[in-house]
């Protein structure tokens, strides 16, 4: 699975848009990019997944440039409750769909302040 690099921490204020970038220079052709969110004292939970261009759901948007060597998770108008660790994972879709080991990096600790 491709190695990922993310900022260790980020600070933001309520109401701002937050963009977290993940680098994955060695991404393979069949790899997907998946983001997980982990609140304190809870397990990680799936946020969004994409392969190329842009994906949007009710929680976030995921921007993937044409070369796919990086991706950006965008959280619109964050609130205090968005304070969490955000993990970027890269791997074949079969890992996520059919069961396989997820490999988590250090993640980005986002702190949202009033």
């Amino acid at each position: 699975l491709a190695k990922t690099t993310q900022p260790i921490s980020m600070d933001s204020y309520e109401g701002q848009e937050v963009n977290i970038t993940c680098s994955h220079n060695n991404i393979a052709t069949n790899d997907y990019i998946t983001w997980y969110q982990q609140f304190p004292s809870q397990g990680p939970r799936f946020i969004i997944q994409g392969y190329k261009t842009k994906v949007t759901n009710e929680v976030a948007s995921l921007f993937i440039p044409a070369d796919r060597k990086s991706s950006t998770l965008s959280l619109p108008r964050v609130s205090l409750s968005d304070t969490a660790v955000y993990y970027c994972l890269v791997g074949p879709r079969v890992v996520y769909n059919q069961g396989g080991k997820l490999i988590f990096g250090q993640g980005t600790e986002l702190s949202v302040k009033p």
Binding site: Y32, Q42, Y96, N97, G99, G100, K101, L102
Partner: protein, 114 residues
């Protein structure tokens, strides 16, 4: 209706003791996992079971023994606990969804060995 539930939530015990952590999922998933999260927030897979059969066994000391009585349960027994075993242990389950959203994690068991 908790999808993946673990017990206990907190466990404090002395070195050398034997302890168990229980996990149950009511999602009907075929695959269950144990992950360990250390103090630096890295999440690493330990074991994976599919329909009661062990399919992933990372390099984990043999003091750790998973047991799956049925596909809805995956328990973790730890013998001769050591200080380095202190961590948060997460149980998870997954099922093929076609959308990468198939993983569900429990809330974790914080194990402290003193």
């Amino acid at each position: 209706d908790t999808a993946v539930s673990q017990t206990p939530k907190y466990l404090v015990t002395q070195m050398g003791n034997d302890k168990s952590i229980k996990c149950e999922q009511n999602l009907g998933h075929d695959t269950m996992y144990w992950y360990k999260q250390d103090s630096k927030k890295f999440l690493k897979i330990m074991f994976s079971y599919n329909n009661k059969e062990l399919i992933i066994n990372e390099t984990v000391p043999n003091r750790f023994s998973p047991k799956s009585p049925d596909k809805a349960h995956l328990n973790l027994h730890i013998n001769s606990l050591e200080l380095g075993d202190s961590a948060v242990y997460f149980c998870a389950s997954s099922q093929e969804t076609g959308q990468g959203t198939g993983y569900t994690f429990g809330s974790g068991t914080r194990l402290t060995v003193v």
